[in-house]
Symmetry: C2
Subunit: 129 residues, 2 copies
DNA sequence: TTACCTGCAAAGTCTTTGCACTCTT
DNA sequence: AAGAGTGCAAAGACTTTGCAGGTAA
């Protein structure tokens, strides 16, 4: 159950941190494969999921496209560019009070919430005119 | 380009409205197949996407599991039960002002946002004790 | 008639899993 | 040793797409 120290696991974690900007599993695979060409995608996925469970990284399920992985583990919101697909952090406080409201109104035990903004990033907006 | 009136398209729309509670494509397929057994999943998917583009229904991409389709087309938020996977509407006003904040702070053209709460629904919470 | 729509099957995308082998501990 | 981790390939879940024929307008 406990994480065993492996080269692959270390490289995956380093890659998530190095790529910073919410990389996909495939991007992480490509990054790691640069120095460790024999690694398999399955190992990358397994390590990403494992690290996410341990809280070392955070998995971001995007509405469209593959999941992304964040080196920041505090709760925060994201915005995804509908043109290039990249995901960015949003500068906004986490609104815990929303969860209280829902818990009181509906009979739910709330474990969290996520907000994903959609829009066009400055770069893609500029390139189109 | 314009929607042509077909039996399949009509049935799909009716099924989304009849099922109400955020059905998956597969649930809609099953529902329609009851009266029209020869329909194919591809046709269901095509009609769902088409109807969503036309604004007749709304597609809800869930963080985990298949997309769901909502007969309500106004903007609102959702909560997904992490046990049974069902999606429910949240009784909370749409917060347009959030988008303004982001637009001003980051250089994004915002087209929308979605909030998905996670939790355990009353039913699943009760059944576990 | 036209070109959109359908059903079928195949393919596509993203992720997980079974298996035998290899490592860390 | 023991069993978690690995690589490979296959499968899995969900969705889209190519094609030939059907059908609404």
């Amino acid at each position: 159950m406990l994480q065993r120290q492996t080269i692959q696991g270390t490289l995956v974690l380093e890659a998530v941190r190095a790529l910073r900007c919410h990389a996909t599993a495939d991007e992480i695979y490509t990054e790691v494969a640069k120095t460790h060409p024999n690694i398999s995608r399955a190992t990358v996925y397994r390590n990403l999921n494992h690290l996410a469970e341990l809280g070392e990284i955070r998995k971001i399920e995007t509405p469209a496209g593959p999941d992304r992985f964040d080196h920041l583990t505090d709760r925060h919101y994201h915005i995804q560019c509908t043109v290039c697909g990249r995901v960015f952090d949003v500068d906004m406080d986490y609104m815990e009070e929303l969860e209280r409201k829902i818990r009181d109104r509906h009979g739910f035990q709330i474990t969290g919430h996520r907000i994903m903004f959609q829009g066009v990033c400055p770069q893609c907006g500029a390139s189109k005119g």
